[in-house]
Subunit: 202 residues, 2 copies
């Protein structure tokens, strides 16, 4: 592609590094940015700058924040007695979008994955344990992903919390069939969970 100028080639290479973008999509984006007004292209560049300058992790819960504490930790209307543990900020967002939870969060910033060399020290687990020990939570909701790695992360954390006195109630998200789904397409694990935790008919 020596026919493209050096700057364009470099920009295409940078876009190719983004998840989900191949060479063709990066090229299409490059032609688009070449064509649009300068101010429009620079708005994208400036937005990236702003994020890397302004966004940090909340000092309490490790959610994304532009101040010392995130919006949720700063909100006095949130239920301060319940703490929901999630892997990533995006999981927190998914839970917030249900509108069914008004407690606080703790973001682990990952899950235990020995094969990827992610151990407890790479996550915010010790900050979580400190927070639970010094706080006055009545319940911890484990909302790690329902995967092998998410489950073992939850189990590891529960072990760390065993020493907390008085013992604290720990729950996890319910598992079962998906509302609106079709049983014939449900996988075995989903149906097994659904049978195991079957509920009385209300």
């Amino acid at each position: 592609m020596s026919e493209l100028t050096e700057s364009v080639t470099r920009m295409i290479k940078e876009f190719e590094k983004l998840p989900g973008l191949g060479k063709k999509s990066a090229e299409r984006i490059a032609y688009h940015l070449l064509k649009v007004e300068k101010v429009e292209a620079l708005a994208l560049a400036d937005a990236i700058y702003a994020v890397k300058e302004n966004v940090r992790y909340c000092k309490h819960c490790f959610n994304l924040a532009e101040q010392e504490l995130c919006e949720i930790c700063r909100n006095p209307k949130r239920n301060q007695a319940i703490l929901c543990v999630v892997e990533q900020p995006r999981d927190l967002i998914a839970l917030e979008q249900t509108g069914r939870y008004d407690g606080l969060y703790h973001v682990l910033l990952g899950r235990l994955a020995p094969l990827d060399k992610i151990g407890p020290d790479q996550l915010t687990i010790s900050a979580l344990v400190d927070r639970v020990k010094t706080g006055s939570f009545l319940e911890i909701v484990m909302a790690t992903n329902p995967t092998v790695e998410g489950d073992s992360t939850a189990l590891y954390i529960i072990k760390q919390l065993e020493s907390v006195r008085p013992p604290i109630k720990v729950t996890r998200l319910a598992r079962g069939v998906t509302t609106g789904s079709d049983l014939q397409f449900a996988n075995k694990e989903m149906l097994a969970d659904a049978l195991e935790e079957r509920q009385s008919f209300r």
Copy 2:
């Protein structure tokens, strides 16, 4: 998405404006950029800045350039007697990649499209006509896209060039079946072109 910080929301909105990126892909890219080292994220922003600062159109042919003239116009080894007319810089790149053309180019920066309000004045047609009139080209190759709009653009240009004295040879890209393709899947237009312009067996 009020749970995302303002900067992150703004960055996602900017990515959503790019061709081929929806909300989900823009969010995935945002999480990626939040996670990577600052220097890596800023490399993308800087690359966009560099393109908008450095890249302009070649004064002769309207190809992309970082100097007054593009690499092709600056190359004395290119055949100065033949001029290939394309719609976009990306078409020029596609032709260059064949390695079968060593002449010069003229990039129209679009095609005539009355419905999109793109007339001759929005393209580089008058610069092309001047270039042909004042130059000493022996052949003009029309390589606009083989579409209705590409064809009418070529016809319009040929009309403009009729006044050039001495009359100049104008050719167009051959049309026919695609090498390596299967006739049963060829469309009618392709087969009609292939029959119309059938060649003697060499």
